[in-house]
C-alpha cells in the first residue's frame, strides 16, 4: 500500500514538473501587462472601419494623427502611465492634458517594458 502511494506521489511530482517546463516558455505577448495589451489594442483599433480616417482627414496636408483618432489612444495611454505608479495629478501636471504628450509618454513606457520583457526572455533561454 505504502509503495503504491509513493509511486503515485512520484508520478504526480513528475507531472507537475513537466507542467512547469511548459510554463517556462514565455513569449512577449504572454508577459505583457494588461495595460500594455490595451495599449496594443488601441493602436490596432485605428484600423476598425469607424476609426479609419475620414475623407476630410485624408485631405489635410499633414500626417499628424487627427485629434479624433488620437482620442482613441488616450484612455489606454493614461492607464499604462498610471500603472507605473505615476499619479493622476502628476500626469496632468506633466502633460497639461495634451493628447500627443500622453501618447508619446505611454509609448516610451511601452517600449521600455517591451525591451525588458525581451531581455528577460533571452536571459531565461
Amino acid at each position: 500500500m505504502k509503495k503504491t502511494i509513493l509511486l503515485i506521489a512520484f508520478a504526480v511530482v513528475g507531472l507537475i514538473s513537466c507542467n512547469n517546463e511548459g510554463a517556462a516558455v514565455n513569449t512577449v505577448s504572454s508577459m505583457k501587462t494588461p495595460q500594455m495589451e490595451n495599449f496594443d489594442k488601441a493602436f490596432k483599433s485605428l484600423g476598425d472601419p469607424q476609426n479609419r480616417p475620414t475623407e476630410e482627414e485624408k485631405k489635410r496636408n499633414t500626417s499628424e494623427l487627427s485629434d479624433r483618432r488620437k482620442a482613441l489612444l488616450v484612455p489606454a495611454s493614461k492607464d499604462l502611465i498610471l500603472s507605473t505608479g505615476v499619479t493622476e495629478a502628476e500626469l496632468t501636471r506633466k502633460t497639461g492634458g495634451d493628447m500627443s504628450q500622453i501618447i508619446v509618454w505611454a509609448t516610451q513606457i511601452y517600449m521600455k517594458k517591451s525591451d525588458e520583457i525581451r531581455k528577460n526572455i533571452k536571459a531565461e533561454n
Binding site: T27, F43, K44, G47, S63, E64, L65, Q101, V104
Partner: protein
C-alpha cells in the same frame, strides 16, 4: 572658409534640434507579408540627405507582426536599428545630392546618431509590395508608395486603400519627439 562656417552652423543647428525620432511598422494583416524600402530625408529645404534601406533585399515585416505580439518593426535611427530591431537592415543607400549615392554599412560613422546626416533626416516613406504570407507571390494590387503626404521629395500618399487591405502613415509629435507609424490593416 564660408563653406566650413556653413557646415559648422548646420551641425550646430542640428545638434540643438536633435530630435527623438522613431519609425514603427505594425502589420496587422494576417494574409500579407510586407516587403518594402524605408526612407528618411531632409525636410528642412531640399530633399538631401536622402537615406533608404538597402538590405540588399527589401525589409520584410511578416503578416501579423505588430505590437499585439511584440513583433513590430521599430527603427530609432540608422545605426541602433541594426542592434535593437527585430528587422535589422545592414546597409543604407545615402544620397547627399541627386547625383551622389553611397552605400553605407549600419555602423558607418557618417550615419551615426547625432551626426549631420542623422540629425537632418526624418522618416518619410516606404515603397512597398505586399506578398501572400510566407510565399513569393505578390498581390499586384496591394502595393504603393506610402508616407508623408504632399512631400515633393517622394510624392507619397498617407493613405492607400485596396480591396486586399489598407495602409496608412501617420505621426504623433510633441516637442522634439516625432513618432512615425506605418500601419497595415
Amino acid at each position: 572658409m564660408k563653406k566650413i562656417l556653413a557646415i559648422i552652423f548646420i551641425a550646430a543647428v542640428s545638434l540643438i534640434n536633435a530630435q527623438n525620432l522613431k519609425l514603427i511598422v505594425n502589420n496587422y494583416s494576417t494574409t500579407f507579408d510586407f516587403h518594402g524600402t524605408l526612407s528618411a530625408h531632409n525636410f528642412g529645404g531640399g530633399c538631401y540627405p536622402y537615406v533608404t534601406t538597402n538590405s540588399p533585399a527589401m525589409v520584410v515585416v511578416p503578416a501579423d507582426a505588430n505590437m499585439n505580439n511584440g513583433n513590430e518593426l521599430v527603427y530609432a535611427n540608422f545605426k541602433d536599428q541594426y542592434l535593437n530591431s527585430l528587422y535589422p537592415n545592414a546597409n543604407w543607400v545615402v544620397q547627399l545630392s541627386a547625383t551622389t549615392q553611397t552605400v553605407r554599412a549600419w555602423n558607418h560613422a557618417s550615419i551615426a546618431p547625432g551626426g549631420v546626416i542623422s540629425a537632418n533626416t526624418k522618416w518619410s516613406s516606404s515603397q512597398f509590395q505586399m506578398y501572400y504570407a510566407g510565399t513569393s507571390t505578390p498581390e499586384p494590387s496591394f502595393s504603393g508608395l506610402i508616407g508623408e503626404p504632399q512631400d515633393p521629395c517622394t510624392g507619397a500618399s498617407s493613405n492607400i486603400s485596396t480591396p486586399y487591405g489598407d495602409v496608412e502613415w501617420f505621426n504623433i509629435t510633441t516637442g522634439n519627439v516625432d513618432y512615425s507609424y506605418l500601419q497595415i490593416y
